[in-house]
């Protein structure tokens, strides 16, 4: 045999596999190996990063929604405001508004009063009425009653609406004039540089103007608050300017006084709360009238257009009702189908067709199931729209393949010896399956079912098709009441323009994820606990 291998050949192996050229090649190959490995590690890390980013975004957004700020007001519940004979007829919201006005007696303008009333939630009246209905002894006399703040006020107090800048003390500030506009004087012109830094624009007369597009400079002096609007260099050095009175000064004097200068960094035009409201809220907070409470409204009420009143309970109940229907339909049908296919069916064209169908249904987009529900359940059977009954039926059809596939795997895992043993002592096929095989396969079936239910709980698209997207305030009381479910509630809230709904949405997501975690944990425990090795 002639040896036509490489010139180096096996005769001088050292240079082929251990020579310098070989070492160089090996280094290059190991570099490629390392690159590939890091690529893989990078992919896993990227997936982890995405998860972390998603969860941290949701959690940080959600946390503020679990608390709600209340304002404690002195509300007059005496007989001349509420008729003890017919308490329901009273204007409860008006009483709350009166209480609010009582906190700020100096507020007189029509527009300002409306602004002040707007700080309290519009639901406060209803809540006061319900409180009185629950406890009529409250009537007669003035009571201190805490009512929820409006969503914007609430967000401001949580620090989510306007960013406060630094504040500093300025000595020797003078205020002159009366009414809504006053003149102010500063001993030095450092304030001019600050105003420029705050985005003040040059006015026609050479001075600086602070508009709604710039940061707000608020001057707390002599028990009141001023908002600086114009500034220019004073004749005797220092600076002079004009200011709007947001809160009247307690003592009007021309004498120089110490003042506190605050900045609100978010320009008034870019936030949903005015400087005046900010001053009022800070005043209330300073007086200890603001209570930050655990947000029971969110957990235990139904949906609402008002963010501070919107709750998740209606959706939770809707989800629960829907899941009951889904479970009641998909579990028995799925298990029965699995038993037939695994234990009774002979291999023929029908069973083959069924199997192909199950596999294909598992991959049909969920929205198509929604179209099926709309066309068949709503239009053909005339079942009620938006009802948990229909939602549950659609989701049951959707989860069926998951349950059947899991149940078949569990049944297949039961060894044939068990069946033979039962058949051997004269049990019928049906008895064998129901007395021996099914109980042994049950943990596996339950695990698959829980995972299927978790999928169904998070499903949104098919429910949109059958009208579960309707805006429903009442807590559903039955399977045919109009209802919505958690993921659809999330979808709807995500679409609402009010910024407070972003927090609500995130909080609702956390609750949904919480349920999913619990369900999956149960599935894992079941699997661990009852896992059997044959």
């Amino acid at each position: 045999m002639t040896d036509t291998t490489l010139s180096t050949g096996p005769a001088s192996p050292d240079s082929l596999h251990t020579g310098d050229a070989a070492k160089a090649r090996l280094r290059a190959r190991y570099a490629a190996e390392a690159r590939f490995k890091w690529l893989g590690a990078g992919a896993v890390a990227l997936a982890g990063f995405f998860l972390l980013l998603l969860l941290s975004t949701i959690v940080t957004k959600a946390l503020p929604a679990f608390h709600q700020n209340y304002v404690a007001l002195e509300v007059d519940l005496s007989a001349d405001k509420i008729d003890p004979a017919d308490p329901g007829a009273a204007n409860f919201l008006g009483l709350v508004h009166d209480g609010m006005a009582g906190e700020f007696p100096q507020v007189s303008g029509r527009q300002e009063r409306r602004l002040l009333r707007g700080l309290v939630s519009t639901g406060a009246g209803v809540m006061l009425r319900e409180a009185i209905e629950a406890d009529p002894t409250m009537l007669g006399g003035t009571r201190r009653i805490a009512v929820p703040l409006d969503d914007f006020a609430d967000l401001y107090l949580k620090g989510l609406l306007a960013k406060s800048g630094p504040s500093c003390r300025i000595a020797g500030v003078t205020v002159s004039g009366a009414g809504d506009e006053v003149a102010v004087g500063f001993p030095d012109d450092a304030i001019l540089a600050m105003a420029r830094g705050a985005g003040a624009v040059d006015g026609e007369d050479g001075g600086l103007r602070l508009t709604s597009g710039s940061q707000s400079l608020l001057l707390e002096i002599a028990g009141g608050t001023l908002k600086i609007t114009e500034l220019s260099t004073g004749e005797a050095g220092g600076a002079i300017g004009k200011a709007t009175v947001l809160e009247p000064l307690a003592s009007a004097s021309d004498m120089p006084d110490d003042a506190m200068l605050r900045t609100i960094e978010t320009a008034e035009a870019n936030r949903k709360i005015t400087d005046r409201e900010i001053v009022w809220l800070d005043r209330l907070a300073g007086a200890g009238k603001i209570e930050n409470r655990w947000n029971t409204l969110f957990f235990f009420t139904g949906a609402s257009r008002e963010p501070e009143l919107a709750g998740i309970w209606g959706a939770v109940v809707g989800s629960a009702l829907t899941m009951v229907v889904t479970l009641a339909l998909s579990f028995p049908i799925g298990v029965a189908a699995a038993i037939y296919l695994e234990e009774f069916a002979t291999k023929n064209r029908l069973t083959n067709l069924i199997e192909v169908n199950i596999n294909n249904l598992a991959a049909v987009p969920s929205i198509v199931f929604g179209l099926l529900g709309l066309a068949v359940f709503l239009n053909w059977f005339s079942l009620p729209r938006s009802a948990p009954l229909v939602g549950g039926m659609v989701l049951a059809l959707m989860t069926l393949p998951t349950i059947i596939i899991a149940a078949r795997a569990a049944l297949r895992a039961v060894p044939p010896s068990i069946r033979e043993a039962a058949l051997g002592i004269g049990a019928s096929k049906v008895q064998t399956v129901f007395h021996h095989v099914l109980p042994l396969a049950m943990p596996g079936i339950m695990t698959g079912t829980i995972i299927g239910m978790a999928q169904a709980l998070g499903e949104t698209a098919p429910l949109l098709m059958i009208g579960m997207v309707a805006f429903i305030v009442d807590i559903p009381g039955g399977f045919t009441d109009a209802a919505t479910v958690l993921p659809v509630q999330i979808f709807m809230w995500a679409d609402f323009p009010e910024p407070a709904f972003q927090q609500k949405t995130s909080a609702a997501i956390l609750i949904l994820l919480g349920f999913l975690v619990i369900m999956n944990a149960i599935a894992v425990v079941l699997r661990k606990r009852f896992e059997r090795r044959w």
């Binding site: 045999m1 040896d3 036509t4 291998t5 490489l6 180096t8 050949g9 096996p10 192996p13 082929l16 596999h17 251990t18 070989a22 090649r25 090996l26 190959r29 190991y30």
Partner: protein, 271 residues
Amino acid sequence: MNMLTEAGVEQQLADQGNTPAIKMRGKGVTVHYGDKQALFGVDLDVPEKQVTALIGPSGCGKSTFLRCLNRMNDTIPICRVGGDITLDGEDIYDPKIDVVELRARVGMVFQKPNPFPKSIYENIAYGPRIHGLTKNKAELDAVVESSLRKAALWDEVKDRLQEPGTGLSGGQQQRLCIARAIAVSPEVILMDEPCSALDPIATAKVEELIDELRQNYTIVIVTHSMQQAARVSQRTAMFHLGYLVEEGATDKMFTNPDDKRTQDYITGRFG
């Protein structure tokens, strides 16, 4: 068959004249799979350009020992190897030794033919390609042809080099795997029961091939069949329950073993 054995004996007699160099040497080799010990202090020398057969009943540790020789056990996470194994005097478990380079020098042929699901040509070309052994297509073609010729497969497949290797018969597949190993130009070829999945005619061809390869390569073969060990090997080592019972020249082992267990095994009293 008979002639083959005679040729082997002749060769061995010739070898005994000038004592062959030791290519690989195992000293006190132990292997643990998790808590279970599979090899107990095996000492075995593998002489250069000879065929060494490892025999013994199944589960005796002969395949385990073979896999230690090119560190294939590294792929099993729970496996721990102790003791020394050297190749040309270098410890192959030394951290400085590169496993990729080691395996290029110590090739392996497996029990069941495992051609890659690629063409015959690509199967052979795979090794030279990954190791960068050839500079151009012409060289690669030459390596493929010479490897197939050495594996006595060239005439059977030269017209269908682009057909999948999985389409060959079992015996052809195993010779393809041997050709694949040869193409890397190893110094040692390890064979783990290479004929156990083959029919007698294919087995004869592979045995013939092994005998020819001995001219250029050091070969270690694990086999179940006494006759095969007698036919192809110059030295034989007998394993039992993880211990090396006895090793020596093949003809001595089969005619006049020192250990009773070897005798019992060879005469078929257990196995």
